[in-house]
């Protein structure tokens, strides 16, 4: 019987001296029990506690944004749009977009799992600026409160893209307030990105060279670069839009000397890289889940790491592909089209390397593997249809149709949300120290995969047949496909709620996880689950590379 087993075993429930809490010794010394008051949570500078705060708030916003989606899908069951008014439908899809993009997808994986895991993975006690980290959560909350106020006060109807001149001259919702909310939450992103970059540069444990960093770290580093360099441009754009609405300083309104297309250029200069802010952390999670499931070193480590950086760089040079039909010069469009196709190269490198990693691995059919496999499949479909819309001629046909909606939902929801739930299932035992029922995790992954495809695959067909986005009264010929999509959405909704039942149940009744429940490598699996407040009793000295699994000889496979 080793020491760690004794620490992780559940105390005897019949022991009269035990107050009835089924806590293990590890849990009593963990960050979760380092202070029990609300104050000790709200004023904490511990990156793990801030990650939990983010986990809770990000999840709340996910369900608010999801509720808006449920309203839309319910409305679209009939072609007449019986449930919502025209105005109400516009407000539902705008809030769905704004909340999902800025309050869920962008912060989701970096602020929860990035926050929790980056110091643990590089052998540090915390992020470089712990107080800035807490501040970024409060800034996020402030932006979130603005958004909720707008939601209650009547909403906005511009779509999440705020295109001028609709947003600056015609929309009559609370456009400025939502712009303020997004402006505020931008600072939260910037501070998180800044913190991650400095942490990775300066706080690596002795021996943790750049080549020994996990791929999760590499993709978060690439994400942080985009966060820091692209977000300020969006802030500026929103300031310009607000200045036009409030003071009549018209940079976008032709009547005041402005140029409406300028808004699209500035907006997409941020918002296309923002797509990679959402998907790069998911790619990092997928790399971890694949290596852990295969129990093998990742195939082509430097190519996977480098392709994250390559995606970050190319992402700044493709914004014009949103504007093929906006009167942009044909030559500019050709360049943007070419560069957009070029993003497929680093993305493809990752897909092939993950597949090669799984090849001849000892694959554990645990929930993390199910989520990783579903991520890879959906990411491939979303990525390939991305090539379709990157072609200028095809884009003219499918622009502003459901084809585009289906494409980016395959990347954002099929990719990022699957990875978010995959990360939740993989690191949950580390975060709370208990295991959940694995069979439920597998079922959730399967339900998400099936429900997702049923929701969004019909939308490819709808879009190709010509159903435009943002319309809720449509040609009755499209009804069958719309009903299929709504049916899929209801499966998806159940699959998203399900984990919260068994994960929360596991916090009290699950078996103690032990430091390394999946039998994988990595610094975060060397510390107790849940980790103590200071992470490492002594800062480790790293002597091996990442994914240090024993290599097998070919002959043993037979």
């Amino acid at each position: 019987m080793t020491d760690s087993n004794a620490l992780d075993s559940r105390p005897d429930r019949n022991d009269p001296h035990d107050p009835g809490l089924s806590e293990t010794m590890t849990e009593r010394e963990s960050y979760l029990r380092a202070g029990h008051t609300l104050r000790s949570w709200l004023l904490t500078t511990d990156h793990k506690r801030i990650a939990i705060l983010y986990l809770i708030t990000v999840t709340v916003f996910f369900f608010i944004g999801g509720a808006a989606a449920v309203l839309m899908r319910a409305d679209l069951v009939t072609p007449q749009g019986d449930l919502l008014s025209n105005e109400g439908y516009n407000r539902a899809f705008t809030l769905h977009g704004v909340i999902m993009v800025w309050f869920f997808l962008i912060p989701s994986i970096p602020t929860t799992f990035g926050n929790f895991l980056i110091p643990l993975m590089i052998g540090a006690r915390d992020l470089a600026f712990p107080r800035l980290n807490l501040l970024s959560w409060y800034i996020y909350m402030l932006g979130g409160l603005f958004t909720i106020y707008v939601l209650i006060a009547g909403g906005v109807d511009t779509g999440w893209t705020f295109y001028t001149p609709l947003s600056s001259m015609f929309a009559n919702g609370h456009v400025v307030l939502v712009a303020v909310a997004v402006f505020i939450v931008g600072f939260s992103s910037i501070f998180t990105g800044l913190n991650f970059i400095v942490t990775v540069h300066k706080l690596r444990a002795p021996g943790m060279t750049w080549g020994r960093l996990r791929l999760f770290i590499w993709s978060h580093y690439a994400t942080s670069l985009i966060l820091v360099l692209a977000t300020p441009v969006l802030s500026m754009t929103l300031v310009l839009m607000a200045a036009e609405r409030l003071f009549g300083i018209g940079v976008f309104d032709p009547k005041l000397g402005g140029d409406p297309i300028l808004f699209q250029h500035l907006f997409w200069f941020y918002s296309h890289p923002a797509v990679y802010i959402m998907v790069l952390p998911a790619i990092g999670v997928a790399s971890e889940l694949v290596a852990a499931a295969a129990h093998k070193p990742i195939f082509g480590y430097w190519f996977v790491a480098g392709s994250s950086i390559a995606i970050a760089i190319i992402s700044f040079l493709v914004w014009g592909h949103h504007m093929f039909v906006a009167g942009q010069s044909m030559y500019a469009s050709a360049v943007f089209s070419f560069l957009s196709l070029a993003v497929a190269v680093p993305s493809g490198i990752k897909i092939y390397n993950w597949t090669a990693t799984l090849y001849k691995g000892h694959i554990a059919l645990d929930p993390p593997f199910f989520f990783a496999a579903s991520f890879i499949g959906l990411f491939v479909v979303g990525g390939l249809t991305g090539l379709v819309v990157a072609m200028m001629a095809v884009d003219v046909h499918v622009h502003d149709t459901y084809f585009v909606i289906a494409h980016f939902h395959y990347i954002m929801v099929g990719g990022t949300v699957s990875a978010y739930f995959g990360a939740l299932h993989f690191w949950w035992p580390k975060m709370v120290g208990r295991t959940y029922f694995l069979v439920w995790g597998r079922l959730t992954a399967i339900f998400i995969f099936l429900g997702f495809n049923l929701t969004f695959f019909p939308q490819y067909i709808l879009g190709y047949l010509g159903m435009p986005r943002r319309y809720h009264v449509y040609d009755p010929a499209f009804q069958v496909l719309n009903v299929l999509s709504s049916a899929g959405a209801s499966i998806l909704a159940i699959a998203y709620v399900l984990p919260f039942a068994y994960l929360i149940y596991s916090m009290r009744y699950g078996d103690p996880a032990g430091p390394n429940p999946w039998g994988v490598t990595g610094l975060e699996w060397t510390v107790p689950s849940p980790p103590p407040k200071e992470n490492f009793a002594e800062i480790p000295v790293v002597t091996t590379g990442p994914y240090d699994y024993p290599m097998e000889l070919e002959s043993r496979d037979g």
């Binding site: 006690r125 441009v233 500026m236 032709p254 402005g258």
Partner: protein, 211 residues
């Protein structure tokens, strides 16, 4: 060389902490550059697309006031650089004096800028509260829109900088900021002020001298 100061929680040694603090500040300044970068890009595009009208619009700006303001900001940067040197030598009083001088120069900049805005308002050049009919055309109107937004945003940064330098001077004289332990604070605020200066050094030729 052993550096002064004390080590905060996640760091293992003072040098590592100092480098991290500076790196964080540099990244923050990079975000500021990107904030103005979008505006510069817009101004540049307008200049390339409509060169004649932009030159015409630029001629109507008071480049002389702008030139004086450039001189004022450059001198204030010198004062801040001297303050940082004094802080490194643990001369709190002298550092505070230089910081106050820099802040005073910043206030002078803002005063002159306000004077310039009021003159432009009288001439009907300011796109807020004035009659758009007085512009010669849409390009001049757009140019003045961008002028007002970019110089206004810069003036907000100068105001923040003045408050920062003034507050720093107070904390240094009151002993709330111990030198040389906390010299990093003076260095970081100094960097911010230099960046605000550099942005003006780019704004001035792009707006006033593009004639």
């Amino acid at each position: 060389m052993a550096e002064p100061g004390f080590v905060r929680e996640p760091f293992r040694e003072i040098r590592q902490q100092h480098e991290a603090d500076m790196l964080g500040m540099y990244i923050f300044l990079a975000t500021e550059i990107m904030l103005f970068g979008g505006l510069f890009a817009a101004i540049f595009v307008v200049r390339v697309l409509h060169p004649i009208e932009v030159v015409e619009a630029s001629r109507r700006l008071h480049y002389f006031i702008g030139a004086i303001n450039t001189g004022i900001l450059l001198s204030s940067s010198l004062a801040v650089a001297l303050a940082v040197q004094a802080a490194r030598a643990a001369l709190a009083r002298r550092a505070a004096l230089f910081l106050v001088a820099a802040a005073a120069l910043g206030v002078a900049f803002l005063g002159l800028k306000a004077l310039e805005y009021s003159k432009e308002y009288d001439e009907g050049l300011l796109p807020v509260f004035s009659d758009p009919g007085r512009f010669s055309g849409p390009v001049e109107h757009l140019f003045m829109n961008l002028y007002l937004i970019s110089t206004g945003l810069h003036a907000i940064h100068v105001t923040i900088g003045v408050l920062l330098l003034g507050g720093l001077a107070l904390r240094l004289t009151g002993g709330a900021l111990r030198l040389p332990d906390r010299v990093i604070v003076v260095e970081a605020c100094g960097l911010y002020w230099h960046l605000v200066d550099v942005i003006w050094v780019f704004l001035y030729p792009v707006l006033y001298l593009a004639r």
